[in-house]
């Protein structure tokens, strides 16, 4: 088992070194929504309706609010179609050309009811650089290789029939080492589980509070990849677990939001609780230490972002808030046009925010203020956070995947 873990660790480390340009999970490869890439600020359609820096647009089947990921030169997107939204699509788009490289379809084995603003394709796919784990609100989980070959399939509601939420579920899976972690929290059979990436067999499964929850697992990096922990946020706690065994390492028991997900940088964790709360976890400690809580920094639906000593959130009024990541002190506010479901992304020193109507707003992040420097219109609703890879921005609108890159 230890050899297996070591191999996985080495593989992930190699991926980090050599596949660093990929965007492997919801909110990126460290779930931080941050990339170092330089992106154009003029994006999508300008006020005259002209495309700006649009490399290509690819039509997608059906509906979906999930985020794209980018791996091995392909952008991977999920969507669903059919009267009951019970056809599950996984589409691979060639990142260079925008052509469909392959498409696979599955039939949902779990329930497909969801709120009209969501979709059965709400969870974003995840990848370890070699495999794609496509998860859906019906709790169907397909593992494919990068050429679209099916490697295994699980139906978690098929296995646990009351594991369902008719408002829709949205927690994205997260691959850590050789385990893919899913959070299936709902009012029926509510659990988190770690599945073997090679076989799909269950490594561990732990009951969670029987309540609706839409947050996604996030990584808390350790000194080495073997020390990484997975953060699971529920309405009654934030807990940290060994991703391979599921063993709980620590738990911060407090009321947390059930929509925005946590984010971690180094040993600090930012969780949407009491507005926004910062925790520090030092290796081998029995608990995380509370650094600060700031009610004014509480976000609405989008998850917080931490970047270069600042924490950024979008509140329910469409205001971008910047706080000091060390103290929680609010540094500046900037009113944008909301409302938002998609978590923004940061590239270089610019924050890209995408509202529900499809308007992109680009903000230059300053020490004392933020400045709105550009807007672009995608003309279709945007609910999923975009991906950034190889100097390009991949934006999923209701019916299309857009690649934005300087020519």
């Amino acid at each position: 088992m230890q050899r297996l873990l070591l191999k996985s660790t080495l593989f992930v480390a190699a991926c980090t070194l050599f596949c660093g340009a990929d965007w492997l999970h919801f909110r990126g490869s460290d779930n931080r929504s941050v990339a170092t890439d330089a992106l154009p600020v003029a994006i999508a359609k300008d006020e005259s309706g002209n495309d700006q820096n649009v490399a290509w647009k690819a039509a997608l089947p059906g509906r979906g609010v999930s985020s794209p990921i980018v791996v091995g030169g392909k952008a991977i997107v999920t969507s669903t179609s059919g009267y009951n939204q019970d056809r599950l699509h996984v589409v691979a788009v060639d990142a260079k050309t925008g052509e469909t490289a392959w498409e696979r379809q599955f039939w949902a084995t779990g329930r497909t009811a969801c709120h009209p603003t969501s979709s059965v394709a709400a969870p974003s796919p995840s990848s370890d650089g070699k495999h794609i784990f496509a998860f859906f609100s019906s709790n169907d989980l397909a593992c494919l290789d990068l050429d679209g070959n099916l490697l295994w399939y699980r139906g978690l509601t098929h296995d646990f029939p009351t594991a369902a939420n008719d408002v829709g579920m949205s927690a994205s899976p997260l691959v850590m080492g050789d385990t893919v972690i899913v959070q299936v929290e709902n009012k029926g059979n509510s659990f988190a589980a770690g599945l073997d990436t090679k076989t799909g067999e269950t490594r561990w499964r732990q009951q969670r509070k029987a309540d609706m929850n839409w947050t996604s697992p996030a990584v808390l990096r350790g000194k080495t990849r073997a020390d990484d922990l997975v953060l699971l946020q529920s309405s009654d706690r934030l807990s940290a677990h060994n991703p391979h065994t599921g063993e709980q390492v620590w738990s911060y028991e407090v009321g947390c939001s059930s929509i925005p997900s946590p984010v971690a940088e180094d040993d600090k964790i930012y969780v949407v609780s009491k507005g926004l709360t910062a925790l520090r976890y030092q290796p081998d400690a029995k608990a995380a230490e509370v650094l600060w809580s700031e009610n004014a920094l509480g976000p609405s639906n989008a998850s917080p972002i931490v970047h270069q000593g600042r924490v950024y959130t979008l509140n329910g009024s469409g205001v971008l808030l910047c706080g000091d990541a060390a103290t929680g002190e609010v540094k500046w506010k900037l009113r944008l046009k909301g409302p938002y479901w998609a978590t923004p992304v940061v590239a270089g020193n610019h924050l890209y925010a995408f509202n529900q109507a499809g308007l992109a707003q680009v903000v230059r992040l300053g020490d004392k203020e933020g400045e709105l420097i550009a807007t672009g219109n995608f003309g279709e609703p945007i609910f999923g956070t975009p991906a950034i890879a190889d100097g390009a921005l991949y934006v999923r609108t209701d019916g299309q995947l857009w690649k934005i890159a300087a020519p």
Partner: protein, 403 residues
């Protein structure tokens, strides 16, 4: 676990299929062997089970199977006929992989075999639909030739397409002010099973001065005997066996949550069969009610009991528990829960337990359920002694969303 008999049957079918599909071409030993291999690989995929069981063997079989050429497609599609839902996805992925690759390299899909498979209603509806969708890639005339004849198909997807075509035809007649439009809408209604299409047709027919018995179209049960409230404080009532679970004695009186309770008769006039317990019994929280009704079946047959509720629910058919969902206020889309049961000829008894919790939010105050009896296509199965639908429910023009 796959039995030897099951594998043998599939291999026999495979060899038979190769013979039939070859149309007199001399079979080579290699062709026969390949068909047998396909059968073995399909059987390996069909052996997958819950919690990842069989995934490792299935992965190997899938890799081999997906290398087959397009001639293997009908055989793989036939494997879907009795595949479990997990296995169905393995098989589907192999069909799509083979067909996608063959088309990319310029090969032809076996259109004649795919069409034959599509039209053979003995095959599983989703397998037929999958065959049809690849057929359409090979033969662009297929949809226009086949769909109009599929109004009463066992596949709800084919029906939906056929209804959609009739709606276009009827709308054209409507715009030309031709009265035959109403007849076309009626024909469309006969095939329609999806709520959105039924709602659209009902509205159009009402515009032509016609009424539609919507509850009977869907098979909603409208008349019940109700009793409650019993106690569900702390959501503890789900597994508490109250008297109606052990006896249906309609003259009896039992201790309830806030005093004695007795059975009452209740008939809903909601076009989607909603039984509103806040109105019929009392508006309360932390409570349980029971509803029961008799259903007289013309013949013994399998049926589906389809229900929707925001409350926790248990359903028994002839004393057998066939559905239990201990979930509160998480949606109530039409046909939210589907339970499979078997009617006996003559009298059958349906018992429903419906539990409201103690949430305080305004959106969490509904205590209600809807239940219908139908077959696997959603076609209503009606009780022989079904009472006539009350005029309000039959002609209700309000566009009541069935959520």
């Amino acid at each position: 676990m796959r039995s030897i008999d099951q594998t043998s049957r599939l291999r026999s079918f495979a060899l038979g299929f190769v013979s039939a599909a070859s149309y007199g071409v001399l079979l080579s030993t290699g062709t026969t062997a390949r068909a047998a291999n396909v059968a073995d690989q399909v059987a390996a995929l069909k052996a997958v089970g819950p919690e990842g069981a069989g995934n490792t063997k299935a992965k190997e079989a899938w890799q081999q199977l997906s290398q087959a050429n397009a001639q293997a497609l009908p055989l793989i599609l036939a494997g879907l006929d009795d595949a479990n839902p997990l296995a169905a996805n393995w098989l589907r992925a192999s069909v799509d992989t083979i067909a996608e690759r063959e088309l990319r390299k310029g090969a032809k899909l076996p259109a004649a075999e795919l069409e034959k498979f599509t039209l053979d209603t003995k095959h599983e509806p989703r397998a037929r639909r999958l065959a049809f969708e690849w057929l359409c890639r090979a033969d662009q005339t297929a949809a226009d030739r086949l769909i109009p004849k599929m109004l009463n198909d066992p596949s709800v997807e084919f029906r939906r397409d056929a209804v959609a075509r009739l709606l276009i035809e009827a709308e054209q007649l409507d715009s030309d002010k031709k009265p035959e439009a109403a007849d076309v809408y009626r024909r469309a209604l006969g095939g329609a099973r999806d709520l959105d299409q039924v709602q659209e047709i009902v509205k159009k027919l009402e515009g032509h001065g016609q009424t539609v018995d919507v509850p009977s179209h869907f098979g909603y049960l409208m008349e019940w005997k109700l009793i409650g409230p019993f106690d569900n404080t702390g959501e503890a009532g789900f597994d508490v066996v109250s008297p109606p679970e052990t006896e249906l004695k309609f003259t009896a009186e039992y201790p309830g949550k806030s005093g004695p309770v007795k059975w009452i008769d209740h008939a809903t006039d909601d076009i989607y069969g909603k039984v509103d317990l806040n109105k019929a019994i009392t508006k309360a929280n932390g409570v349980t009610a029971y509803a029961t009704t008799e259903f007289t079946a013309a013949e013994a047959r399998p049926i589906e009991l389809r229900m929707a509720t925001v409350d926790a629910i248990k359903v028994w058919l002839n004393g057998e528990l066939i559905s239990a969902n201990n979930v509160y206020h998480a949606g109530d889309k039409m046909d939210q829960y589907i339970a499979h049961g078997h009617l006996k000829q003559g009298k059958n008894v349906i018992l429903v337990k419906i539990l409201q919790n103690e949430q305080k939010e305004e959106w969490a105050q509904d205590w209600e359920f809807k239940l219908r009896v139908c077959d696997a296509t959603g076609t209503a199965v009606l009780s022989k002694n079904r009472p006539a639908t009350k005029p309000k429910a039959a002609a209700d023009k309000k566009d009541q969303a069935a959520k």
